[in-house]
């Protein structure tokens, strides 16, 4: 077989591809959810990092993987909501707010890791998240079945998102991403929808961090995420904002990534690690324009919406909002 194709024949190659794809697939789905509601979820990088640390630290301290997963997901959801607060209520915008979370999260996690775990954060061999069923002997089945359980969760989740986007609630959420004035005109609170979407995206991003910490790396040292969140953002674009295509894009990226490291071709050490990024750039440049549009109002600030009487989020205003008439259309702009 030709030297360049050699990795594709080995089962260990596909094994690594699926293993490394798990966090990226989950992160890409998280980004997709937020994106369809109109938030460009740049905060995914920081969210993954924080939840990865939370999961690893909790598992290492308590010895319980389940606890680690729960704490990781909660930390992710909290980070997602925090980023929504930054970008919506503090008017930071999605990219700047997301980078604040990324830089702050990197500092916060390494600071806590250095203070609370001076000798490093490592997991024992029985604290890794693995498939609970025994692996079959057959090599193809082995590759497919002996993956982190969260990979299967991710695939089910992708299918669930496909269905969800077609439901009534899903349509309302998409309206906030595609045409927020229209959504507001129909009495949907764009602000609340984006908050909720960011919270859910944070939780799914938390799962991505959990799978990264508990299945892929198994320790916490420095920055284990190292740009995987940004890659997830790219995967959403490559997949044209459609859940199953996004999963495929993440798998494709992971395949290129592992290929770059495993190939033994000449000068592979030099160009191999850049391969996935170059392929992503080429794909971004060659895809049809139509597919790269994405939700039309993604990243637009809520300040551009006409003002509504109830903007503050209190229990009282919430109760009032449920009975509210559809807001007046934006005819009376000053």
């Amino acid at each position: 077989m030709h030297e360049l194709l050699a990795p594709f024949a080995s089962s260990s190659y596909w094994d690594s591809v699926l293993l490394l794809a798990t966090p990226i697939v989950l992160a890409a789905l998280a980004t997709l959810i937020a994106s369809r509601a109109g938030t460009m979820f740049v905060a995914i990088e920081g969210t993954m990092l924080i939840s990865c640390f939370a999961a690893v630290a909790t598992t290492a301290r308590s010895g319980s993987i389940l606890m680690g997963i729960v704490v990781g997901v909660l930390a992710g959801a909290a980070t997602g909501l925090f980023s929504a607060w930054l970008s919506i209520d503090l008017h930071a915008g999605d990219v700047a707010g997301g980078l604040v979370v990324a830089i702050g999260g990197l500092g916060l996690t390494s600071f806590i890791a250095q203070r609370a775990f001076p000798s490093g954060t490592y997991l024992g061999p029985d604290q890794r998240l693995r498939a609970p069923w025994g692996a079959p002997g057959d090599s193809v089945l082995h590759v497919i079945l002996d993956q982190p359980p969260l990979l299967y969760v991710a695939i089910v989740l992708a299918a669930a998102i496909v269905i969800f986007l077609r439901t009534r609630v899903g349509l309302r959420m998409r309206a906030c991403g595609e045409a927020m004035e229209v959504a507001q005109g129909f009495g949907i609170s764009v602000r609340r929808t984006r908050y909720l979407a960011a919270g859910v995206a944070g939780a799914v991003g938390g799962l991505a961090g959990v799978s990264l910490g508990l299945s892929v790396v198994g320790s916490f040292d420095g920055n284990p995420v190292s740009g995987r969140g940004f890659i997830a953002l790219a995967c959403v674009m490559l997949g044209g904002w459609r859940p199953l295509w996004v999963v495929l894009a993440a798998l494709f990226f992971s395949a290129a990534d592992v290929y770059g490291f495993q190939t033994t071709a000449v000068h592979a050490q030099d160009w191999g690690p850049m391969l996935p990024y170059i392929l992503t750039l080429v794909a971004l440049g060659t895809l049809q324009r139509r597919r790269q549009q994405g939700p039309r109002d993604e990243g637009r600030s809520l300040d551009e919406l006409p003002r509504t009487p109830t903007r503050r989020w209190s229990l009282l205003s919430w109760a009032r909002m449920r009975r509210r008439e559809p807001a007046q259309p934006a005819a009376t702009s000053p």
Partner: protein, 361 residues
């Protein structure tokens, strides 16, 4: 008889001038308040975590500001973030988000290094100028890729510049441990640039590189304030479709300003090589681009203050090793501190907005 385009442009100008006059004083108050709030909250953070604030303050003040070597260090450290912030700010005002200042800076650094070491002989000043031009060109070309993808293929420049950052990082690693590696060195690093090309101090503890950074920032701000070209740039950023309808070639201006932004970031890389590090090793450019984005957003409405905020960030980088040695503050806490000014300004702006809107709603 003014054309329709000219009329729309003059409307733009009037509304912009009114906006600028109304908010300048408030903005300066907000900037000052954010600076004070950030510094105070840094000290409170250190105090709350149980570190000795007195010694920490001494590190900040005597270690990094009041002594000549400390001040020089701080000014040198302020240079890269000042330039990347100016680059990000400039592109953002025209409606493009340059997240790739890191990659552009690295490409600029390598270009300057390779050109200067390849020529080697000749007067230092000529070499420096050639090296810096090479750096700016390399950064501009690196930004051109993402800018072209955006303006003609409609690929989001946030994503493509991040991808280009990764690629630049890999190219850098390959060069440092491969083609440019120093003979017989134990760790992967390059030779130093020729002594003649090392940029020193202009006078006293004032480094030449910081002067260049401030000059470039001021120049970018002046271009953006201009009443002909600058107005077109601002109009493209404020409302692209209105600008297109008034006859402005928005896409071309965006591509141009993105390349300019990349050139400024690349120039920062060249200045780092010639006036700060003098040789390259893995990790020689630590996230200056991302810090630049933070600064650009802090000083978004008062860009002339970018060098001042750059100084604060430079102060933090200079103090980090001192704090670690004297008080035991880990590096992670310093990057938490970098986020505080951004949070402070976002909070103050939001508070100000609520305060001014209270009467009208």
């Amino acid at each position: 008889m003014p054309t329709r385009g000219a009329r729309i442009l003059s409307t733009f100008r009037r509304s912009l001038d009114q906006k600028a006059a109304g908010s300048l004083a408030g903005e300066l108050v907000a900037q000052l308040g954010a600076g004070v709030l950030a510094v105070v909250s840094m000290l409170i953070l250190l105090w709350a975590l149980g570190y000795d604030v007195g010694i920490a303050f001494n590190d900040f003040w005597h270690g990094s500001l009041a002594s000549a070597t400390g001040l020089e260090q701080t000014l040198v450290q302020a240079m890269p973030v000042t330039l990347t912030a100016a680059a990000v700010w400039f592109a953002y005002r025209v409606g493009m988000f340059n997240v790739g200042a890191d990659g552009q800076l690295q490409m600029g650094g390598f270009a300057a290094f390779m050109v200067v070491t390849a020529i080697a002989g000749g007067p230092g000043l000529v070499l420096i100028v050639i090296g810096l031009i090479a750096a700016a060109l390399a950064g501009g070309v690196w930004a051109l890729i993402a800018g072209w993808l955006r303006t003609s293929r409609n690929a989001n420049e946030v994503i493509s510049t991040i991808m280009l950052n990764f690629i630049a990082f890999q190219i850098g690693n390959t060069l440092v441990s491969g083609a440019l590696v120093q003979r017989g060195a134990t760790s992967p690093q390059t030779d130093s640039v020729p002594i003649a090309t090392e940029m020193g101090n202009l006078l006293g503890p004032l480094p030449l590189v910081f002067v260049v950074a401030v000059a470039v920032t001021v120049a970018l701000v002046m271009v953006m304030r201009g009443r002909r070209f600058g107005l077109r740039l601002r109009a493209s950023g404020l409302n692209a479709s209105a600008a297109v309808h008034s006859g402005i070639a928005v896409n071309r201006l965006r591509l141009l300003s993105f390349v300019l932004s990349g050139a400024v970031a690349g120039l920062a890389g060249g200045l780092v090589v010639l006036g700060m590090r003098h040789f390259l090793a893995p990790g020689w450019a630590p996230q200056w681009g991302f810090q630049g984005i933070l600064i650009a957003f802090i000083a978004l409405r008062a860009p002339i203050l970018i060098p001042v905020w750059g100084l604060l960030f430079g102060l933090l980088s200079t103090s980090a090793p001192l704090l670690k040695a004297d008080v035991g503050v880990p590096d992670g806490l310093v990057s938490v501190m970098q986020v505080l000014p951004a949070l402070a300004i976002f909070l103050l702006h939001t508070a100000g907005r609520r305060f001014t809107h209270r009467g009208s709603t």
